[in-house]
């Protein structure tokens, strides 16, 4: 493999570290890029015993079957994307899952596709995180509807995204966005959060 330092994240052009430098004290919203996540897109029939158990054997947890919900697997966070579609999201250091899944599912009507290179992840948190997201997304992020641990595919401004609300006391979200939209979306959110004060963090 070539040196990892040659990799560039979709937001590398925005020089986020230098933005982080002029951080304000009591920002209502904190933003960060979480680059280089490994994402495996998994498709299959959840009603198939074989599929569910094969997935479980690799992921170390049941696939979340409830709409808009996430679960913690052994090495990956599992996000429900649709009735026959999931994401297994892991950090770069963890062992790759795709091949294992492919092996476990061979012969089944299922598909396993690496998609992480095509996404960036923008973390948005803070007391005004929900106010900010509401500006660009039709979803109701209120605790009673989108509690910590929820996830959903939707639109944020004019970009298609996957939201994942983390289990956190202050509202914290991770927003997966296609790399080519990342710069647009970052600037959009930063602008939307402007009135609350924005801190860019590491």
């Amino acid at each position: 493999m070539v040196e990892a330092y040659l990799r560039q994240s979709p937001l590398s052009q925005l020089a986020l570290p230098s933005r982080a430098a002029d951080e304000t004290g009591d920002a209502g919203v904190s933003m960060a890029e979480r680059p280089f996540r490994r994402i495996v897109n998994l498709r299959g029939n959840p009603k198939s015993e074989a599929f569910v158990s094969a997935a479980k054997s690799v992921l170390g947890a049941e696939l979340p079957l409830a709409p808009n919900s996430a679960a913690a697997g052994k090495d990956a966070t599992l996000l429900w994307l649709g009735p026959d579609e999931w994401w297994a999201v892991s950090e770069d250091e963890t062992p790759p899952l795709a091949d294992k899944l492919r092996d476990a599912l061979s012969g089944q009507h299922a598909s396993v596709t690496d998609v992480g290179e095509g996404y960036s992840c923008i973390a948005v948190s803070g007391p005004n995180a929900i106010d900010t997201l509401a500006k660009g997304c039709t979803l109701d992020f209120h605790d009673s509807v989108f509690a910590p641990g929820s996830c959903a595919q939707s639109d944020m401004a004019k970009a298609a995204v996957v939201f994942h609300r983390l289990e956190d006391e202050t509202p914290s979200f991770e927003i997966y966005v296609r790399s080519s939209f990342a710069e647009y979306l970052w600037r959009w959110i930063e602008d939307a959060a402007g009135e609350y004060g924005v801190a860019v963090t590491g």
């Binding site: 493999m1 070539v2 040659l6 990799r7 560039q8 994240s9 979709p10 590398s12 052009q13 680059p35 280089f36 897109n41 498709r43 009507h109 299922a110 598909s111 396993v112 596709t113 690496d114 998609v115 992480g116 290179e117 095509g118 996404y119 106010d131 509401a134 500006k135 997304c137 039709t138 109701d140 209120h142 009673s144 509807v145 401004a157 004019k158 970009a159 296609r178 790399s179 080519s180 939209f181 710069e183 647009y184 979306l185 600037r187 959009w188 602008d191 939307a192 402007g194 009135e195």
Partner: protein, 1013 residues
């Protein structure tokens, strides 16, 4: 120096906070809490504008959103706002306001001649004249246009920013009068997520104008303050003041506009706070508590400055501590207006008379006025008014018993204020916008809400309940019911607030009855013969105009509206529509509901354009999609082209080069040595499943079952109408695994198209589709040195022509990066497309550039790519096709299978599809090799002398081809393939004609040896 008409005490203004502002260039003082209207009135300024058509002097008529008259231009230059209602402009230090639609000044406006000539310009006059000579219409029109319009549009780009947000709640309460507050309290206490929207800066609604009422044993405004405090303490309640609910859409989707900074002086505006915010709210339930609007009376010359709504007079007195005049005549048809007389009397305004249309004036307030010794002229009417820039006298005449005419000569009463009341109209706008029914209430002579069509209720004055007690209990009940209907399990109940009016007989539940409904007050002359009975004061529509329309056959109320323009002004007829409807009904002698109402449309009051754009303008209007190598291209000085949302390098000019030179250089490099381009934007769809090949077989025109693993194939996709939709190369990665590419702009539509067929037509196919467009960065290298370059970058792929032939792919490492290399070509030259994980795209590009230096590697953009492919006669979907072109038209029969079905197949066999004169794709060669046909040029068979010539087709692509050393073009020509060698002519806009001949569409390397080599 205190303003002349300001009371020394009372009102909700802060006398410790003076504010200075200018109006028509003159400086005035007001206080915090004032509106522009109240501050002007405090200074004795009544004349504020001119009317639309006759340019008659106009004053302040109301104290709220319904204002039709006092429209003001605020601010200057780029930060100016036309047509603002003086009654809703909060006074702010340094405010610059001016009258509009007048020249040279509001005091002396030359266009007043229109008033003098008004006999000649009744409603619809312009339809009857200005027709001769026909050629002069544009001149007449210019004059008409200059005379029309009210304020002036801003003069430069708006420096302010706007925001919008989605929101969700259980209960939206619109209006924070007593009803809305009671509703918000009961809903809020029950735990529902509540939003309370109030257009005013302050909560309280009509209570702000009521001096004496008590609620729950405390003065009403203390109750309001307590309610506010309680609501603010509930974290499930959000109060939005300065926020009008402007529109009620389907599925309980509501639009609100919040004004965040207009009330702040420029220097005090937080820099990042937007000016206005659009709330796009989904509410489970809505309580509409928007109150009611007082109705003026329609009498002769009822438009002079100083003629105001009675309730507005009370508001100015009680809320703003301003005397709207010093000597008033009250003109009413109901008991309610006596409250205004009493309040004014108490405040020291002389009540010259109360003119009451009722034959016998009675009612609880009337009795109080009698007791107070006020002069009541019942059975009387104002039949004329006088005063140029302010009313100075009225003529009061006894009415005939039927109210149809005025008797004898009347009494002349001097005054500087006329307070008018004609009853009340519930503000049913939002209810009606939600498609709720509205009904006519005979008792109160107004339209009231009927059944709701959506999850909403109306309560309080808005629903036709005018007593405070009823408003409070209705509000309370509505709030509770809404919370319950929204599925909230009540935390606690609480009881409805109780109202009292210590001063009033009839208590807090009195309304404005009894009343007498006399819609058109007779004047001293027949209608239309002298004084003007204004119905719509903004658009200068009189009762005579309404009659004229009806007489001329414009009978539907919708025709009346459009012919006279009544209710079409910025106020949308808030004070005029019901009067107009009633006058029409009287004309026909039919009941008012039979006339019907015109449609209530959003917005309730006008909403700023900017707020709909929010931050989605400028470079955030649309995402600019960038590839992983974008920054490198920028660095290399690329000029970009928009392809869909993508930014793609168009060409890479060297210093001093124009586009033509740059493109020529890039094109030549690809044929002579080595070019490189960023092809990352191509759509990529990963296709897996045991039926994947069968699926491709159905969506592409050609055959796919036998494609070998490791091989690639070009495919053409049609819509079901047989027209070309997209093309691209698809590769077989495994037995059950394919990777499809699509054109850059079509990636999403193609995936959607495939999913549609997969899910809805062929659910039995075991196939999964996943978009992987952005998983890979793609570097495409082309040219005779492509293989050499690649050889230097990889050591695990056998690049020999035998081991890695054209139209195959291989896995390996390129520049140390795991890569999939496709040997395919859109340029017609030896070419490879190297796909790597996207995060390595920039690294790969740099490696290719560095290693390629010795081959003078040349980055090329989309324009050079277009030239290269045109040399080869390859089409670009969307440029050489336009949705009306079949593969047969393109001469691509070779790719259309005759033996299987595929999407669009049957359409190719319709009767008009094989007509010989269909447009077919051919090449064109200009006679003069240096002349490049313009793209979009039309072609004819022969040049005629006249302007019309029969066209045979048009140029779709056209370039100078450095490799052919001449111009080349592609064109869609009627029966083109049968015309090989035929001369065609292209007449240009400048009169020149370009001569060319029809040729084959492949211009370069017809045998394709370079590609395969």
């Amino acid at each position: 120096m205190p303003a002349r008409f300001r009371l020394t005490e009372g009102g909700r203004i802060d006398r410790s906070k003076p504010i200075s502002f200018t109006f028509n260039g003159k400086v005035y003082q007001g206080f915090e809490g004032d509106t522009l209207a109240s501050a002007l009135l405090a200074n004795g300024v009544h004349l504020v504008g001119r009317s639309f058509k006759y340019h008659r002097p106009r004053g302040i008529m109301s104290a709220g959103a319904e204002e039709a008259n006092a429209l003001i231009q605020v601010g200057e230059g780029a930060r100016t706002d036309p047509n603002l209602r003086a009654t809703q402009i909060e006074l702010v230090d340094g405010l610059k306001a001016a009258s509009q639609n007048c020249w040279p000044s509001v005091e002396f406006d030359v266009s007043i001649v229109n008033n003098i000539a008004s006999r000649l310009i009744p409603s619809g006059f312009y339809y009857k004249t200005f027709m001769w000579p026909a050629s002069l219409w544009m001149t007449y029109e210019k004059i008409i246009r200059n005379a029309a319009g009210l304020g002036k549009a801003p003069e430069g780009p708006d420096p302010d920013s706007y925001d919008k947000t989605f929101a969700h709640c259980d209960v939206l309460v619109v209006g924070a009068g007593p009803t809305g507050l009671a509703a918000a309290l009961s809903a809020g206490r029950s735990g529902a997520r509540v939003i309370l929207s109030e257009q005013d800066a302050t909560l309280g609604g009509s209570l702000l104008s009521e001096p004496d009422l008590q609620i729950d044993g405390q003065p009403a405004l203390e109750w309001v303050a307590a309610a506010r405090a309680e609501l603010e303490g509930l974290d499930n309640v959000r109060i939005l003041t300065r926020t009008q609910t402007y529109g009620y859409f389907d599925h309980n989707f509501i639009g609100l506009m919040e004004n965040l900074t207009d009330h702040l002086p420029q220097s005090a505006k937080p820099p990042k706070l937007p000016r206005h915010r659009l709330w796009k709210l989904r509410a489970k339930q809505v309580v509409i508590a928007t109150g009611a609007i007082e109705r003026p009376l329609v009498f002769s010359d009822n438009d002079r400055p100083g003629i105001m709504l009675a309730s507005a007079c009370r508001t100015y007195l009680n809320r703003f501590g301003v005397k709207p005049g010093s000597k008033a005549v009250v003109f009413t048809n109901n008991d309610g207006a006596y409250a205004a007389a009493l309040d004014m009397h108490k405040a020291g305004i002389q009540i010259a008379a109360i003119v009451d249309l009722r034959a016998y004036a009675e009612g609880p307030l009337t009795e109080q006025a009698r007791d107070a010794g006020l002069r009541i002229l019942d059975g009387h009417a104002i039949t004329a008014t006088a005063g140029d820039k302010r009313v100075k006298a009225v003529q009061v005449t006894r009415l005939s018993d039927d109210g149809e005419s005025a008797k004898a000569v009347g009494e002349h009463i001097e005054c500087d204020l006329v307070a008018v009341s004609g009853g009340w109209n519930p503000t049913v706008h939002l209810h009606s916008q939600s498609r709720g029914k509205i009904l006519f209430d005979e008792t109160y002579a107004c339209f009231v809400p009927g059944d709701s069509a959506q999850a909403s209720t109306t309560a309080g004055a808005c629903s036709g309940s005018f007593g405070l007690g009823a408003c409070l209990s209705q509000g309370h009940d509505a709030g509770l019911a809404a919370a319950k209907a929204a599925g909230v399990k009540s935390r606690k109940k609480g009881s409805a607030p109780q109202a009292e009016d210590p001063n009033a007989p009839g208590g807090a539940d009195r309304d404005f009855l009894p009343a007498r409904w006399l819609w058109l007050v007779p004047g001293d002359k027949p209608l239309g013969h002298g004084g003007k009975h204004f119905v719509d004061v903004q658009n200068d529509v009189t009762a005579a105009d309404l009659h004229l329309a009806l007489r001329e056959g414009y009978r539907s109320i919708e025709h009346v509206k459009r012919y006279t323009t009544t209710g079409m002004g910025t106020d949308q007829g808030k004070t005029s529509n019901v009067n107009a409807i009633a006058i029409v009904s009287q004309y026909f002698g039919c009941p008012i509901p039979d006339v019907g109402v015109t449609t209530f449309r959003p917005p309730y009051t006008p909403v700023t354009f900017g707020v709909f754009a929010g931050r989605d303008i400028g470079d955030l209007l649309d995402p600019a999609r960038k590839t992983p190598m974008h920054a490198l291209h920028e660095h290399a000085g690329a000029t970009f082209e928009d392809v869909g949302q993508w930014k793609r390098p168009w060409y890479f000019p060297h210093e001093g080069e124009d586009m033509h030179q740059a493109v020529n250089r890039e094109v030549r490099a690809c044929r002579e040595s080595l070019g490189v381009m960023d092809a990352s934007t191509l759509g990529k769809i990963d296709i897996q499943g045991k039926d994947a090949a069968e699926f491709l077989n159905r969506v592409y025109t050609n055959a796919w079952l036998k494609l070998k693993v490791g091989a690639c194939r070009y495919g053409l996709m049609l819509g079901e109408n047989g027209m070309v939709m997209d093309d691209g190369v698809t590769s077989r990665l495994g037995e059950n695994h394919f990777l499809m590419t699509t054109t850059s702009g079509n990636a999403a539509p193609v995936l959607a198209h495939l999913e549609e067929y997969l899910q809805t037509e062929w659910p039995e196919l075991e196939v999964y589709l996943t978009s992987v467009t952005e998983q890979f960065a793609t570097v495409s290298i082309a040219g005779p040195n492509a293989r050499k370059l690649l050889a230097e970058l990889t050591d695990d792929i056998d690049l020999s022509a035998e081991a890695f032939p054209f139209m195959t792919w291989r896995n390996g490492r390129v520049a140390g990066i795991p890569a999939r290399v496709f040997r395919i070509s859109f340029t017609g030259d030896l070419s490879y497309e190297i796909n790597v994980p996207a995060s390595y795209g920039a690294a790969l590009w740099q490696a290719v550039m560095t290693t390629g230096e010795k081959y003078a590697i040349t980055p090329y953009g989309t324009e050079a790519m277009h030239v290269l492919r045109a040399e080869k006669g390859f089409i670009i979907v969307g440029q050489d096709t336009d949705g009306s072109v079949t593969p047969i038209d393109l001469g691509m029969d070779w790719i259309v299978s005759k033996t299987k079905d595929f999407v669009g197949r049957r359409s190719l066999y319709r009767s008009d599809m094989d007509k010989p004169d269909r447009k077919q794709l051919v090449g064109l060669l200009t006679d003069a090799p240096d002349t490049v046909l313009p793209e979009g040029a039309q072609l004819v068979e022969k040049i005629e002398s006249g302007p019309t010539m029969a066209m045979v087709g048009h140029v779709t692509s056209s370039y100078h081809s450095p490799n052919c050393e001449r111009s080349i073009a592609m064109a869609l020509i009627k029966g083109g393939r049968a015309r090989m060698g035929q001369k065609l002519y292209s007449p240009q806009a400048d009169g020149k004609v370009i001569t060319c001949s029809v040729s084959d569409v492949v211009f370069y390397d017809k045998e394709g040896e370079r590609t395969r080599g």
